[in-house]
């Protein structure tokens, strides 16, 4: 059998196959583009989230910010101990307003609360507070 007999079909079929291959190439490009795009977007979001969380919980100005816990109440009512990145504070005879203000400050400061112990004694409050960062 001579191929020349079927050369017309051969031309049509070979170009058709070429077209299918080109379509597959395009399809693969689209799929890999979408996958890569998803992966890059996911990694970017992950990194941005990580950076944002790190910025919150390893605030470089934290040493200044926690000083507020000491000065927000009269110094006579505070017993303060700071070691490395840990604080132990004891408060005695806090009024309810002082306690409120102190608690609000603690809540708004990015420190890890390890202990919070509030006890009412008569009309005032005693509080023990430990945190780290």
């Amino acid at each position: 059998m001579s191929w020349k007999r079927y050369q017309n079909e051969f031309i049509a079929i070979s170009t058709f196959i070429l077209m299918i291959l080109a379509y597959m190439y395009k399809h693969n490009q689209v799929v890999s583009h979408v996958e890569e795009s998803k992966s890059v977007t996911y990694t970017l979001e992950e990194i941005k989230e990580g950076i944002a969380l790190k910025k919150i919980w390893t605030d470089k100005k934290i040493n200044k910010k926690i000083e507020v816990f000491k000065i927000i109440v009269p110094s006579s009512k505070v017993s303060w101990s700071k070691k490395n990145k840990k604080i132990t504070a004891s408060y005695q005879g806090l009024s309810s307003n002082e306690l409120n203000n102190l608690i609000i400050k603690i809540l708004n400061t990015p420190v890890q609360i390890t202990l919070l112990d509030i006890q009412k004694t008569g009309l005032t409050y005693n509080m023990e507070f430990k945190c780290k960062w």
Binding site: K48, I56, W57
Partner: protein, 313 residues
């Protein structure tokens, strides 16, 4: 050096020809036995325009059942129309041992009308002659020289132009060469479009990749996937635990209203416990309801209206 174009052997195909054996490709000239000819003077300028009207010119002249193709060329002021049945020609040539693959080009005798200066004998009974500028088959007996022609048919009869190939229309082909080329052109066009579209997707994520690279440069530790995961997990855990603690403190503070006094709060990294002093049972119930809503455990202190609220972090 030979500047003369080398012409292939020209074979005259007529119904009374002998069977031949070919070793190399040849050109074939067809006698009027294989085509129908018509001359018309038409007000058209181009051959393709004339070709469009060819089928209507031959209406009623051609045998039924055939599939006809047409060629058109100009002779002086007139257009020459030739209708031929390629299948019939093919069958005839094959019956005479002429393989289609061996045929380089097909010509019609009319295309070399000027070469037939004298009648050309085809057989004892028939000759080719030119009458009114048209090549026709005539009975030899009607000719004055009784077929004793000295005209030798050879490659000098090959027209300079106008031949066509029979190879593109082989019998076994389901499609003609023109159709095949048209399809190929369409497929190639689509293939080109797909290739261009596909290549356009290369480097589409450039902006995101650049942003990613700049972040990697700023925070090299985050480039490694497992290190990044560890760092992110660490801060996510801290974040969720600390947010929970703060939410608990906020929700406990909401339980302090008129008639409720906070007695104590104890919170560590795993749990919390708060004790409220309530003025009466109704207030205690209200506090309990609020605590239950937040899924905290509640318990009443014996012989009092005090309430203990506790839970895990």
């Amino acid at each position: 050096m030979n500047f003369i174009r080398k012409t292939k052997e020209l074979l005259l195909a007529h119904t009374s020809m002998q069977r031949v054996t070919l070793s190399k490709s040849v050109n074939v000239m067809l006698t009027p036995q294989f085509y129908t000819l018509k001359k018309e003077e038409l007000p058209v300028k181009y051959a393709y325009q004339a070709k469009k009207i060819a089928p209507s010119l031959f209406e009623g002249l051609l045998e039924d059942g055939g599939t006809y193709d047409y060629i058109v060329f100009k002779e002086g002021d007139a257009w020459v129309f030739i209708a031929y049945d390629i299948e019939r020609i093919r069958k005839f040539l094959q019956s005479k041992g002429i393989a289609i693959e061996k045929i380089s080009k097909l010509f019609f005798a009319q295309q070399s009308v000027n070469s037939f200066t004298t009648p050309l004998s085809l057989s004892d009974k028939e000759s080719l002659a030119v009458i009114d500028d048209t090549v026709v088959v005539v009975p030899s007996i009607a000719l004055s020289d009784k077929g004793q022609s000295v005209l030798v048919f050879d490659e000098k009869f090959t027209p300079k132009e106008g031949g066509f190939s029979i190879k593109g229309t082989t019998k076994n082909s389901m499609i003609t060469q023109t159709q095949a080329l048209s399809l190929a052109a369409i497929f190639m066009l689509f293939a080109g479009i797909f290739m261009v579209e596909g290549s356009r997707y290369t480097g589409e994520n450039q902006v995101e990749n650049e942003e990613l690279q700049s972040l990697y440069e700023e925070y090299p530790a985050l480039e490694n996937t497992s290190t990044r995961k560890n760092i992110i997990d660490k801060y996510k855990n801290i974040d969720s635990a600390e947010r929970k603690k703060r939410d608990v403190i906020k929700s406990l503070s909401k339980m302090i209203f008129k008639g409720v006094t906070l007695n104590s709060v104890a919170m560590n990294e795993k749990s919390f416990k708060a004790q409220f002093s309530c003025i009466d049972n109704d207030v205690a119930k209200r506090v309990k309801k609020l605590a239950k809503k937040l899924h905290y455990n509640t318990s009443k202190v014996k012989n009092s209206t005090d309430l203990t609220v506790e839970g895990t972090l």
